[in-house]
């Protein structure tokens, strides 16, 4: 696999339990690596938000990003589908490879990237259109017009998002006229309808009811094989419950850039963290 010259010779990332992933550093990207991030620096104008982030995201698995408020979890997540491009004055350095290709390389179309890397936000944000049109939005963008085909995609996506049973008789209702938890699952269905490779979820469960949280956690497990998921969460139990890998971010001094302190298998991070700061955070000593 051809590698961006930028990547060659960069040091291995912060402490990791998962040494195999980096054992042949930077000659090739491991087979199951979806995102390969090296020495990422991120700036909002003059504000240096993230520094030296190096991380591999494993395909077909769920990765949780944890850390105190303001430590750059959302910022990092939004780098992965270039949503930060939409904020004026942002700057990114380092490399972010997706399936081996540099997503910030010249000529890369962020629009195409976002089709393959879907995103769910903290606040459910369905379009003020019917439930059906919400789910059919992405397929229609891709030029699918046939009613029967759209019907099938809508039904399948809603089923995968654990929402079909609740809305199958009200597909014409406005997407804003259902409960918050249902709206969030509608947003998930909308993303799944375009068959993304990756799902980025930024605190998807922090604004919704427990039943819906349960349903979302279930569906994450169900789609895990097809869709690599990265979830930001403040809920340690949730991270421990749903994820296979966990990364801990921390901004130690206000105004200074945040760093990725530690990454590894969720089980290891939660039982035998290598870094004192990780342990402190997980046991609730700060954040």
């Amino acid at each position: 696999m051809a590698l961006d010259p930028l990547v060659a010779g960069v040091p291995t990332p912060a402490i990791t339990h998962d040494s195999t992933a980096y054992s042949t550093p930077l000659v090739s990207v491991a087979e199951d690596t979806t995102f390969f991030v090296r020495n990422m620096e991120f700036f909002y104008g003059d504000f240096h938000a993230l520094t030296g982030v190096s991380l591999d995201i494993h395909g077909g698995a769920i990765t949780a990003l944890i850390g105190p408020s303001g430590c750059g979890k959302s910022t990092f997540l939004r780098c992965l589908n270039r949503m930060n491009d939409l904020i004026a004055g942002t700057k990114i350095e380092g490399s972010v490879l997706f399936g081996g290709a540099d997503i910030y390389g010249s000529g890369v179309d962020p629009v195409d990237l976002r089709r393959r890397v879907g995103m769910i936000f903290q606040q459910p944000n369905p379009f003020p259109q019917s439930i059906y049109d919400n789910v059919a939005f992405g397929p229609r963008l891709q030029g699918i017009r046939k009613k029967s085909e759209l019907d099938a995609i809508v039904e399948d996506s809603l089923k995968r998002a654990n929402l079909w049973k609740e809305v199958k008789d009200i597909l014409g209702r406005n997407g804003l006229a259902i409960s918050g938890g249902q709206q969030q699952r509608l947003c998930i269905a909308r993303v799944l309808a375009v068959e993304p490779d990756v799902l980025l979820m930024d605190e998807p469960c922090s604004a919704i009811d427990p039943t819906s949280v349960q349903k979302i956690e279930d569906l994450m497990a169900e789609i895990k094989d097809e869709v690599t998921t990265i979830i930001v969460t403040h809920n340690m139990q949730q991270a421990a419950r749903v994820s296979d890998y966990t990364s801990f971010f921390l901004q130690e001094v206000a105004g200074e850039p945040a760093v990725l302190v530690e990454s590894g298998k969720t089980n290891d991070i939660f039982t035998t963290p290598l870094d004192k700061r990780t342990e402190d955070y997980i046991t609730g000593r700060f954040g």
Partner: protein, 329 residues
């Protein structure tokens, strides 16, 4: 209304009226325990007085509308007897000398002028609003928005003047004649209604939550797709409202139209042939009209009143249907 309510701080009122609350407190002594502060009498009186004041202001506005309409209607009523309603509303000939008061030419004139101005002005205004709300950076916005607002503040006589001295000669040279007529009116009126429609449409666009734009981009939509498939449908009702209000402005516009439309009480016969509108004809006749002539003018005024009321009603109905849609079927 309950005699007390939870308050954060009302010490000022309490100290000003030390005698007020104790008697209330004795009627319900248990509330001392709950640490609820009582509303002082002065606060109550102040609030009553204020709501009365607001009510009176509202009444004045309503009375004004009712009185004006009643006045116009009363003056127009002889129309049914003296001119004949059909002769008035369906008559195509207007001639004071022959006592013919058919207003169809003016209705058609108003319609032609309004529809044309909307056809040019509304797309211009909506695109301006889209540019300001969706595309422009802060710097472009800082220049363009005040310019659009300024456009709204220019008196219509200045627009008329601009039409007479700049647009009409150009139209005249291109199409022959003096250049006074519907085409000139379209051009000038469309510029006049741009600020109304653009500013209101921009409000409608700005009130759409940022989140749905973000969602659209995150779905891999381009900016154009986001505008076309998400933003515009979401703001549709607001933009239609804005357009209807712009239409009201175009129908009611008098001074500028009077200066450029040619003022010939004849049927629309071409884009550069002089015509007259309901408003311009009223102004022209107002100074000297009497008898049936005056009655006809009042009839036209009533007609204008009804048309704009219809427009306002349409806006109301639209925004109500939107609210219901938001709450779900």
């Amino acid at each position: 209304m309950t005699p007390f309510t939870l308050r954060q701080a009302d010490e000022q009122d309490q100290t000003l009226n030390p005698g007020m609350s104790p008697d209330l407190a004795t009627t319900s002594p248990q509330h001392k325990k709950a640490e609820l502060t009582l509303v002082s009498r002065t606060t109550q009186i102040k609030e009553r007085a204020l709501s009365l004041l607001f009510f009176l202001c509202a009444i004045v506005a309503v009375l004004g509308v009712v009185l004006i309409f009643a006045f116009v209607a009363v003056k127009a009523v002889p129309l049914f007897k003296d001119i004949g309603f059909l002769n008035f509303i369906a008559g195509t000939k207007w001639s004071v000398a022959q006592s013919k008061f058919g207003v169809v030419p003016f209705i058609v004139g108003s319609l032609v002028v309004t529809v044309g101005a909307l056809a040019i002005g509304a797309p211009l205004a909506i695109l301006t609003a889209l540019f300001l709300s969706e595309v422009a950076g802060p710097r472009a916005r800082a220049v363009i928005r005040p310019a659009v607002e300024l456009l709204a503040g220019i008196p219509s006589v200045v627009y008329g003047f601009f039409g007479v001295t700049v647009i009409a000669p150009v139209v005249g040279r291109l199409f022959g004649g003096a250049g006074f007529g519907p085409l000139t009116a379209w051009i000038v009126l469309s510029i006049m209604i741009v600020p109304t429609i653009a500013m209101l449409s921009e409000d409608a666009l700005d009130s759409i939550p940022m989140g749905i734009r973000e969602a659209s981009f995150a779905m891999g939509a381009t900016q154009w797709q986001t505008i076309y498939k998400v933003v515009l449908p979401a703001a549709k009702i607001g933009i239609i409202d804005a357009t209807i209000l712009g239409m009201g402005r175009a129908i009611g516009e008098t001074m500028a139209v009077l200066m450029i439309v040619g003022n010939a009480p004849q049927m629309f016969a071409g884009l550069t042939k002089p015509i007259a509108t309901l408003t311009s004809q009223i102004v022209l006749g107002m100074g000297y009209a009497s008898g049936d002539f005056q009655t006809a003018l009042f009839g036209m005024a009533a007609l204008l009143f009804i048309i704009s009321m219809g427009l306002v009603l349409t806006v109301r109905l639209l925004s109500r249907s939107k609210r219901e849609e938001g709450q779900g079927a």
